[in-house]
């Protein structure tokens, strides 16, 4: 009897911790969505409106009229994240394949040198990079938030991840391809790339997320609001009169929703991706 009671108490404690943490995580999403649908004058009501009444869908439309460049900024974020993701996968696959499958002098030394780049914080190189890009007239331009992420730390992570993947592919496969007259390029493009899909998925998820939430680089490099990406565009909802919370929350929902949808549909891939890279 007593041990049963203890067991239930233990089970209750477990659920309690899980429920508390889950609540803390879900509340911001709930509050973000409900606020985005509230009448502007009801936002600061006391007691707070848990559910919006009336439901003001037009807040979402108003985002685009209050911030005429919001659509443009949304597009900027999308196309930059897509380019960075494709570029990183490509650069990572090329070098990852070379480091795993081709032999050339200084291969391992070069790989170690490259890996050492992973401990160089972006926060340190950003100053010389900024000076360099401003001399080249590339400030207030998307170039510095597309190319260095592909060819810098993000790319190195890609090389590392995909090299690990290519190493697991049996040697016999590329030897057979070679005997059949494949050049390293055709082996890479025709045989390896199609096999890389699962590893690409993991890398793409990380890269896209990083680019989507990148804040420091756009903050430093972009001055004109038509070039802004979403993270820095959020600032525009605050002016001297205060913050338009109902519009800011609507913009936040639109920024968050696509990634959450992808996550809910491809959850398993996400979680596997995180845990495999975490374990290696």
């Amino acid at each position: 009897m007593r041990s049963n009671a203890l067991r239930y108490a233990g089970l209750g404690m477990r659920y309690l911790l899980l429920i508390v943490v889950t609540a803390l995580v879900v509340i911001p999403f709930f509050w973000m969505v409900t606020t985005s649908l509230k009448d502007q004058n009801k936002i600061f009501d006391f007691p707070p409106q848990w559910l919006p009444h009336p439901v003001v869908w037009s807040n979402y439309k108003e985002v685009f009229t209050a911030q005429p460049e919001f659509l443009r900024q949304y597009w900027n974020s999308v196309y930059i994240a897509v380019l960075v993701t494709i570029g990183t996968c490509l650069v990572g696959a090329l070098a990852g394949f070379a480091f795993a499958k081709l032999s050339f002098p200084f291969r391992n030394t070069l790989f170690l040198v490259l890996l050492s780049g992973m401990m160089i914080p972006n926060e340190v190189t950003i100053i010389p990079n900024f000076i360099w890009f401003s001399k080249l007239g590339l400030v207030d331009n998307h170039f510095p938030i597309i190319v260095p992420p592909i060819l810098g730390a993000g790319g190195i992570f890609g090389v590392f991840l995909l090299r690990q993947f290519y190493i697991t592919i049996p040697k016999e496969l590329d030897e057979a391809a070679e005997i059949d007259g494949c050049t390293p390029w055709t082996t890479f493009w025709r045989i390896m790339i199609p096999m890389t899909t699962p590893a690409f998925a993991t890398l793409a998820i990380f890269t896209f997320l990083n680019s989507w939430e990148d804040f420091l680089d756009p903050l430093i490099y972009l001055n004109s609001s038509k070039l802004f990406t979403l993270p820095i565009a959020m600032n525009l909802f605050t002016d001297t009169a205060g913050t338009a919370w109902h519009l800011l929350m609507a913009a936040a929902v639109m920024t968050t929703a696509p990634l959450l949808l992808v996550f809910f549909f491809a959850q398993r891939k996400f979680v596997e991706g995180v845990s495999t890279t975490g374990l290696k």
Binding site: M119, E123, A252
Partner: protein, 298 residues
């Protein structure tokens, strides 16, 4: 025969160099070059506003002896790390242990707790700032309902940092939880069976079997979380702007302000370089101690 072989391997080598060329050039131009550049600039008073000159070790001397703000930001950064890491890792481990058992609804909890990881950190910080707003924030409204006058969370020197820490933990705890969950699944069941046969308590099993077996993941997440916490920036900009006063001004925020608000790029580089040394030292510690601290390694 031999000639054709060496011809072929030379051709392979050329392909190899071509394949790694993009990333190697990127490394050279965007990482190795700039890090040397940053080191060089840190010995000048480079500024976008006036001509610059070589000042030797002046910047570093100034940082260490006269710059009180720098030491405040170091202290704040360490406060952030010291608050975040234990909370993040113990919570992640506790959640992973709970979710690795066969509880009902486990998948739902896992999904929910992982959700902030796929949410932009800026959005996360904005929503929490709104929730912790002084007059009409959700937290204070709920407190008001119970007749409590809520504090000005983000405008109070003692409270601002803890709020930033807790919300940062909630953003990333799902990531570490999932890594721990995967590690827990790798522990062979027979170890627990053997321990149970020997009469080991649940706590003994945890400290003698679970912890040693997942130590590689523990160590990895510790270092990643630590390095990440030393570079905290976005949440600070959004939630507190370094304030009130300098109570939440952290290292990267200070570097950002020096370089891109005051245009003291030379001095900012010196401060940034100290951050680089710190991160590099920690990474090297990770590499060298990995073998000694970690029991289970393939």
């Amino acid at each position: 025969m031999r000639i054709s072989y060496s011809k072929q391997s030379r051709r392979k080598a050329i392909y190899g160099y071509l394949f790694i060329a993009p990333i190697m050039l990127g490394f050279l131009f965007f990482m190795a070059g700039p890090i040397i550049g940053a080191f060089g600039i840190s010995f000048t008073n480079y500024s976008l506003l006036q001509p610059s000159s070589f000042v030797g070790l002046d910047n570093y001397r100034h940082v260490f002896t006269q710059d009180d703000t720098f030491w405040t930001t170091v202290k704040n950064t360490l406060y952030f790390s010291a608050g975040l890491i234990p909370l993040n890792l113990t919570l992640a481990l506790a959640l992973a242990l709970l979710l690795s058992g066969k509880l009902r609804g486990m998948g739902l909890f896992r999904t929910a707790i992982f959700t902030p990881v796929v949410t932009s950190v800026i959005i996360w910080a904005i929503v929490w700032k709104y929730i912790f707003a002084t007059d009409a924030g959700l937290v204070n409204q709920v407190l008001h309902f119970f007749g409590i006058q809520g504090p000005a969370w983000l405008y109070d020197k003692r409270l601002a940092m803890p709020v930033v820490i807790v919300t940062s933990v909630l953003k990333k705890v799902g990531m570490n939880m999932v890594i721990f969950l995967a590690a827990l699944q790798e522990v062979p069941k027979m170890y627990y069976e053997a321990a149970t046969l020997d009469g080991a308590s649940k706590w003994k099993q945890f400290t003698k079997v679970t912890l040693p077996m997942i130590s590689p993941s523990l160590f990895l997440t510790l270092i990643i979380t630590l390095i990440g916490s030393l570079k905290v920036f976005s949440q600070i900009v959004v939630m507190t702007g370094g304030g009130p006063g300098t109570s939440t001004s952290v290292l990267v925020y200070y570097i950002y302000k020096l370089a891109f608000k005051n245009y003291q790029l030379g001095y900012a580089s010196a401060v940034a370089f100290l951050l680089f040394f710190l991160v590099m030292a920690l990474t090297l510690v990770q590499w060298s101690l990995r073998k000694r601290w970690v029991h289970h390694e393939e």
